[in-house]
Each structure stands twice: as C-alpha cells, then as structure tokens.
C-alpha cells in the first residue's frame, strides 16, 4: 500500500467522539457549517444510554432539574450549566433527543421533571431522557405492576435477583427468573452485545418470546437486560412486546454495554450520511494553532492526514478518554497543553472519604472558558480566537456526582458550536 499524505479543509473541526463531540457535529450540521470530526470513539460505549441534565444538587436527588438549575446559577456561578440560558439548554437537549429519535434510536422527549430510571444493581437514577426501550419501566414501577425480571445463564455481572432484592422495598411486585438465551444456553459465558445482535434476527426474537411467554404467569410487565438489538432497538422492542402482550423494558447492564454501543454505531453510520467527515478510529497527534485557524495531524491506515479548519471545538473529555492526564505533580490538558485549573497539590485531589457528598476536587479541575466558550490561558485571555471547548473537559462541574454528564455535553456543545459558527461565518446568532 502506498501511504501518501492527504490534506482536508473544512470549516469546523470537532475533536472528540464522546457525547459532546457527537452533539457538536450535529449542531454544526444544523447550522449548515462544514464539519470534520476526529476521535477514537471508545468511551461512548461506557454511557448507559440515559441522558441526565442535572440529577443531584449536593444534598440529594432532584426532581425538577430546571428548578435545580436556577439554584445552581446562584450556588455555582462558574458551573458550565450556570452560564447557559435555560432556553438554550432546552433547545439543545430537545434538539439532540429529537435527532437521535429521527436517526433511529428513540428517546423520550425531555420534560419538566427527572425520571427515576433503573440501574443494573436495582437502584434508581434520576435522568431527564431515556431510550424508549427502557421507558416502560417508569409506569410499571409507578403502578407497582406484577413484573418479571429475567436474566440469562452465562451473562456475567447482571443478576435479576440483585435487581429485585434492591427494588423490592419500593416495588414489591417484582420477581426474578434466569433462563437460557436461544442458541447461547450451553452454560458458557454469553455477552450482551452478541445477544443484542442476535435479537435483530426475527427467528431469535420469536424463540426468546416462546421461552419467556409460559413463564410470565401473572406478570403484567417484563424486564430484561439491555439486549434488544443494536441498530433497530425500537423495532425489536415493539415486536417483542406484541409477541408477549405485556410491556417490556430494558435495564442497562454494566458498561461498556449495548446502550453505549448503539449510540456509537448510530453516530458512526449516520453522521457521515449527513455530511460529517468522520474519522472515528483515530486520535489527533498534534494540533497547531495558526493565525487563520487550526491544523490537525493524524495518521490512518493510508498514511498522514492533515485537517485544516477555520475553527475547532475541543471535546476530548477527561481522564478516561484522555483529554486530561496527570503525573504526581499536576494535571494537564493533553492536546494543546491548555491551562488547567486544579487543586494546589496532589494531596487535595481526593477527599479521604470516597463517598463524601461534596465530591472530589480533582473532578472539578479542567479547562476554563470565556463567554464564547474559548479556553483561557493562565493569564485569563482566550488561548486562540477560534478554539472552543465543550463537554466534561470543562472545569467547575462534577458530572459524576451532579448527574449532569449529558447536560454539560449537549448544552456546552450547542453553545461552543454557536460561537464557532459565528467566528467562521461572521454571522450573528
């Protein structure tokens, strides 16, 4: 194979392939901005599929995230979500879930209140929008329906008994049962993703329904680990419900899991169709900040690629996705070496108690931005006029404890792309 350097030009370069990066590309498309996106999309498979806006306010779970945002603006004025108008957050969130639904992955429309979604341990998690395949759990629990939770022989780390034991105090009508998955019931380990792909075959669905139907008994609803297909989950879900005649809901399994794989494969297949020049399996090696924009170097199987863009949105995430890294002496941003606000020393990164409700200071470290979402240097000046940042890379938020990961990703991507579009096109919002 002859490797030769290639060079692309685009208006906006989105760096990162998590939720923030994907949202940034979609928002750029909506605005008609030419966009290329680079990032090795591993980490998105770790999302649960639940899209949180703000689920915890430091004291406990919140019921009304919009109300909690009002308080957040007072309590944490530097929080990224505190710097975005409520209407912008609504528009961004609604647009994102609507687009996912249009692309084939149905999501509930974000409402006024948080929903309490099921977790693989049988606890509940406040979230704003969830996949349609998981939604029927909400009314089933609210009505206390007699419900059967099924798990599968050989599926490691998911126990229907655990789900039932932990939900029982508030949902007494639950019971657990373990069955074999069609053609995967030898006792050997089975994998949720493999089962999900098998569920796209009508005959497998049929056989699973035949195994489950006689076990339903008095059950008025059925819970399953998230295995209802990868590419057409809503279709698989509808079919199974109609075969069984009861509402069926998925419970996410421990990440990386099918709900995250669905998002990854959905983006990877639909974004290019919609006009994004997507390089999903690669990581930018070097990003040069030039007077007229940015120049990014990466290498794929065919050789060196240079992408020149008038502007860039950095959505590289935190430690897990490699946007931040740390040695014993400090935390740094890995691509451009942006200034990172951080605790004075390593002794201040973590509190002694893991579950301290105030969270750990390291999780609030990150990149700070100006009103246009441009990263600031140590002197408090924008690092570059056309470099923007979005997502969990941003400082002054703790998405893990505040349950605001998707909210920060989507809303800041919306704002950063808005500013980038303005910078590229020189047009007004």
């Amino acid at each position: 194979m002859i490797k030769q350097p290639r060079r692309h030009r685009t208006e906006l370069l989105v760096i990162g392939s998590g939720l923030a990066g994907m949202a940034a590309s979609l928002f750029a498309l909506e605005r008609g901005v030419g966009v290329a996106q680079v990032g090795n999309s591993g980490v998105i498979a770790f999302t649960t599929g639940y899209l949180d806006l703000l689920g915890h306010d430091g004291r406990g779970f919140v019921d009304d995230p919009w109300q909690a945002l009002v308080r957040l603006r007072e309590d944490e004025p530097r929080h990224p979500l505190a710097n975005i108008a409520e209407n912008d957050i609504r528009v961004a969130f609604t647009s994102f879930t609507r687009t996912l639904t249009e692309m084939g992955l149905g999501y509930t429309a974000p409402g006024q209140r948080n929903l309490l979604a099921l977790t693989p341990a049988g606890t509940l998690k406040p979230t704003l929008s969830l996949p349609l395949t998981m939604q029927p759990a909400i009314p089933a629990m609210a009505r206390g329906l007699d419900t059967l939770v099924v798990d599968f022989i050989g599926l490691n780390g998911f126990s229907a008994r655990e789900v039932v034991a932990n939900l029982a105090p508030r949902w007494p009508g639950l019971r657990a049962l373990r069955i074999g998955f069609p053609d995967m019931d030898s006792g050997a380990e089975v994998y949720a993703e493999v089962m999900a792909r098998a569920m796209e075959v009508p005959a497998t669905r049929q056989r699973l329904a035949e195994r489950v139907a006689p076990l339903l008994g008095s059950a008025q609803a059925l819970g399953l680990p998230a295995i209802l297909g990868v590419h057409r989950p809503d279709h698989v879900h509808r079919e199974l419900q109609s075969m069984l005649g009861v509402p069926v809901f998925e419970i996410p399994t421990m990440p990386p899991a099918v709900p995250g794989v669905r998002l990854r494969e959905l983006f990877e297949s639909t974004l290019p169709q919609r006009g994004v020049a997507l390089e999903p399996q690669h990581r930018i090696k070097r990003l040069e900040l030039l007077p007229q924009g940015v120049s990014a170097q990466l290498e794929d199987a065919y050789g060196e690629v240079t992408i020149e863009a008038a502007a860039a949105v950095l959505a590289t995430g935190r430690f897990t996705s490699g946007g931040l890294s740390a040695d014993p002496n400090g935390i740094r941003e890995t691509l451009v070496n942006l200034a990172v606000v951080q605790p004075e020393g390593r002794a201040d990164w973590y509190r002694p108690d893991y579950f301290d409700p105030r969270g750990h200071a390291i999780n609030r470290s990150g990149v700070t931005v100006d009103q246009q979402w441009r990263p600031l240097d140590a002197a408090g000046k924008p690092t570059h006029p056309r470099l923007f940042a979005a997502g969990s890379l941003l400082a002054h938020q703790d998405w893990i404890r505040q349950r605001c990961g998707a909210g920060v990703a989507i809303a800041t991507a919306y704002k950063a792309v808005g500013s980038a579009a303005q910078a590229v096109r020189g047009r007004q919002e």
Binding site: L124, S159, A165, M254, A326
Partner: protein, 543 residues
C-alpha cells in the same frame, strides 16, 4: 458460674476465648488446638484487620535487627527457619539482599557481617556488580551488598491456615465482627465475655475457662477492660505501597539504620515498598497519606531507580504495637521489636493472659509461650507441637496465593465457570468454595470477607469493577437477598479507595474516574440509605 442474664443472642461455651484474629491470635488458636483444646476466637472486624494484614509480608532473616537488637535478630532467624519448614506453601524463600548506596554510611555497612555473625545469621558479601546481576533493578550507586536468607510470607494464608487447622482439630470457632464490650469478673477470674455482633447488633455471650488477649494494637484496651493496666504499647503507624508488577526477585533491604522506603519485598506477582514510621496516639482512621507515599517513592528510588516510573496500585497502613518499657522514649524506630507475655496474676486475675509486641516473623513463638501458659493453667500437659507439625494447607484457603485461582480455573475447565475478578482471574466457583468452606463461613460471608480470603480486589482495578460482579454473583447465590448486600459493596469500594487515592496518578486516573462514574453516577452507591434499603426521596420540591 457468674453469668448474668443477657438480651437475645447466642451464648457460647469454650475452653479458651482468644481476642484478636491476627497471626498471633490465630497462632494461639492453632497451638492450643494441637494440644486438644477447644478455642473460640473473636475479632471486632475480621482476620488480619490490624497489623497482620498491614505489613509487607517479610519473613525476616534477622538481618534488619542485627545491628540494633541482637536478641530479636536471633529470634527472627530461628523462627524464620521453623516457618520455612512447617509452612512452605505460605512462604516464598526468595532470599534477600542488603545494599548500601552512595551517601549511606560505609562503616555501618562494613560492620553488617559481623553483627549478622553474632546473631547467627548467614550473610555473604558480594560485589556490587554481582548484586546487580542478581537484581538488575538495583542502582548503579550500590557500593556494598550482602545476601541473607530473607523470605516473603503470605500473612493472610498463614492466618487462614491457623484457623482452618484449629477448626479441623478441635472444632474451634472463629467469630468475626464480634466486638468485646466487657468482661464479667468474679472471684479473681474472668467468667464470661459480653460481646456485640457488629453487624446484627446482637449480644454474644462467651463463657470460657481461660481468656487470651492477642488483640495486637488493641491489646492495651482489651487488658484495660479486664481491669489490667500493665500493658503499655506505643503505636507506630507504618505505610507501604504495592507495585502492579514484581520488581525484584529477592527482598531488597537498604543497608543503613532503619528509615522510610528501605525495604522492597516481593509478594507473589507484586512488590511492596515500605515502611514509614510515625508515632500515633489513636488507632482510629489509620490511612496512608500522599506525603508518606511521596517519601517512600523518593527513598525507594535511591535503591531501585525504576521506582520513579513504577505504577503503584495501592498504599496501605498498619499500626505496629510496640512494647513500651517504663521510661523509654517514644521513638517507634528504636522501640523493641520483642514481645512480652503478661500473666496478669499480680493484677488479681488467674485466667487471663496478654501477648503483645513482637513481629509477624515471631508469631509462632509468641503463640507457643502463650499456649504453654494457658495449657498449664488448664491442667493440659501436652507439649507445643507447632515447631514440627506442618500446616495442612486446605483447599478452601488457597485463594490468597497469587496465580492459584487461574490455575484452578484452567484445570477445572468448566465453560460455565465465569471469571468474576478479571485482574486476578478469580472464577465464580472459587467464590462459592470460599462462601461454603473458608474459615469464617460459620457466619455470613460478605464481599469484604471474601476479599480477605482470596485475591479478589487485589489486582490493578483494586475491586472497583470486580466487586460489582462478585456482588451480582452473591445475589444469584442468595448469599445476599436484600439491599444490605449492595451497602456492603459500597463499604468495600470506599475502603479500597483509601488505599488507591494516595497513589492515584498516571494510569490510575482513567480507571478511578470510570469507577466513580459507575459507582456514583450510574449505581448511586453514594446515595444508598443506611436503613431500610430505600434511597433517599427525591429532592427538588422547593416552592
């Protein structure tokens, strides 16, 4: 018998009650069981929860004490030899090196062989080049080196073996999570011990003819509960760090007066670097700190430069219970490593004994002396048998050995036997074996208890991920059947975190961040209520 009516709760009868489930307490248990005596051992937490689980597992040749404390050095040499013979499966007879590096006192180094000779310790001088050939990780700045017969010992395995053997011999009983609250003393003897099951809150009453206090760092408190004030201990906190791969083949000691970061001990697939020494006043909240880790790394680099780039997976601390002689200064490094047996007879008790001080290496001797006293008091004339009787090494207790679980799993070759702990390759069948048969299976096994009895949670993920899979399995097997199980998991990961945070940098951070996202953002372990298993009601109801 001077018993009192108690609230609901079990009542036990035994010949000897032993307080403290470390190497010494379990050593006494086995020693007495070998003489045909029934024992009941209680621990307020679980096996090896104190110094027996918080050390580097070094079976001292005695070299380390040769210069300062010849008696302890000779004692270590003798005991090390005995343990190698009776418990070979618990010991890695890897040998040890003492090395002096540039900046260390050459005269101190030059006197080392002579000190070893006085204590009877085999010691061979080798050239720095030969030392680096044996251990390529050594610094080029080594100027003196000696080999000694140091070894590594698995303190968890030893303790489990002790308990297991005592169970086999006399049906002796281990009660974990049983905290001593008071003694009932009458007529110059302890008649019963009133304890509390720390999990259920129930009162547990134990009637015993003899009571042994082997509570390690807590021995002073236990003695005080019996009205005895003769036990005086100095608490010396020591912290250590564990690397993710074994660094040296042998034990590597810095040849200087004991200081921070001067011992590197292999522990199967990992190495342990220690130890700091800091006198503390209290036994509560003993955890390693960032400052201690930084000191250990800085000192360790002088001996083994690659420590600068080593990934450490965990830090941990223990408290050395050192005997304080009257008028002695409070320096933990200089205090005696010897032990004492208190018969408390001058304090008016005829059936109480405290064994305190000492070291992991000398636990058997401590148990022998205690066993001799207790057996004599019971009118039992059987001699001590621990010098020659091998530990039996039962199937249910081999899971702390690195590499045992994967070998077992491969040999068993059952496709349905899922691996629950991926770092250490612990299969579901191993968890089942522990739940059914391991020492402590008398009471309910939890994730914490399984971790003490296996490699679960000891790999690079430090339990962050495998704990969730093991939890699911325990629910499947109905060991857990309520939200209590998940709370146990929460407490387990919170405990492991205390050891991870001080060494968290570099490759740790992606893992730690992901773990916290799973534990908190997804599972909401930070929101588990402590009563009734219900999560707190949702907030946000403000007008």
């Amino acid at each position: 018998m001077g018993t009192r009516p108690t609230r609901h709760g079990p009542v036990f009868e035994t010949e000897v009650l032993i307080v403290g489930g470390g190497a010494t307490g379990t050593g006494v248990m086995r020693d007495l069981a070998l003489r045909g005596i029934h024992c009941l051992l209680i621990d307020r937490r679980d096996l090896n929860a104190g110094a027996s689980g918080g050390n580097h597992g070094l079976l001292h040749s005695g070299g380390r004490y040769a210069a300062g404390d010849a008696d302890t050095a000779a004692e270590c040499r003798r005991e090390g030899g005995i343990l190698k013979a009776v418990a070979p499966e618990c010991i890695d007879a890897c040998g040890g090196l003492f090395v002096a590096v540039e900046g260390d006192d050459p005269e101190f180094a030059a006197r080392f062989p002579q000190h070893c000779r006085s204590a009877g310790i085999e010691c061979t001088s080798i050239t720095p080049a030969a030392a680096r050939e044996l251990e390529p990780c050594l610094s080029e700045k080594v100027f003196a080196a000696y080999t000694v017969p140091d070894a590594a010992i698995d303190p968890f395995r030893i303790t489990l073996e002790n308990v297991n053997h005592a169970r086999q011999l006399t049906q002796s009983i281990l009660l974990s999570h049983t905290e001593l609250e008071r003694f009932v003393v009458d007529g110059g003897a302890i008649r019963s011990a009133i304890c509390r099951d720390t999990r259920s809150g129930e009162t547990v009453t134990i009637h015993a003819r003899q009571v042994v206090n082997a509570a390690g760092a807590w021995a002073m408190r236990v003695a005080q509960l019996a009205g005895c004030s003769s036990v005086n201990l100095l608490y010396s906190k020591g912290s250590l760090i564990i690397s993710n791969a074994r660094i040296g083949r042998r034990v590597i000691n810095r040849l200087r007066r004991p200081g921070d970061g001067d011992i590197l001990v292999p522990g199967g697939t990992v190495s342990l670097l220690g130890t700091t020494s800091e006198t503390v006043q209290t036994l509560d909240e003993i955890h390693p700190t960032v400052a201690e880790v930084d000191r250990l790394v800085a000192e360790g680099i002088a001996m083994v430069p690659q420590i600068a780039h080593t990934r450490f997976i965990r830090a941990f601390s223990g408290v050395r219970p050192l005997l304080m002689a009257a008028g002695a200064d409070a320096d933990g490094r200089k205090a005696s490593r010897g032990f004492s047996l208190f018969d408390h007879e001058s304090e008016g008790l005829a059936n109480f004994a405290t064994v305190a001080g000492g070291k992991l290496t000398t636990f058997r001797l401590m148990a022998e002396k205690t066993g001799n006293l207790v057996a004599r008091r019971l009118g039992n004339n059987q001699p001590c048998k621990t010098k020659t009787t091998p530990l039996p090494s039962g199937e249910a207790i081999r899971w702390t050995e690195p590499g045992f679980a994967p070998r077992y799993w491969v040999a068993r070759h059952e496709p349905g036997d899922l691996i629950l702990c991926e770092c250490e390759m612990v299969p579901a069948s191993a968890i089942d074996a522990i739940v059914e048969n391991a020492p402590g299976a008398e009471s309910q096994m939890s994730l914490n208890a399984i971790a003490v009895r296996s490699r679960v949670g000891k790999g690079t993920c430090q339990g962050a991920f495998c704990s969730l899979r093991v939890t699911s399995h325990l629910y499947d097997r109905q060991v857990y059947d309520s939200p209590l199980g998940l709370r146990n998991t929460r407490d387990f990961v919170a405990q492991r975190f205390k050891g991870v945070a001080p060494v968290a940098w570099g490759e740790h951070l992606p893992q730690l961040e992901l773990a916290e996202a799973l534990h908190c953002a997804l599972l909401g372990l930070d929101q588990l209520a402590d009563d009734g298993g219900r999560q707190p009601p949702t907030g946000g109801q403000d007008p």
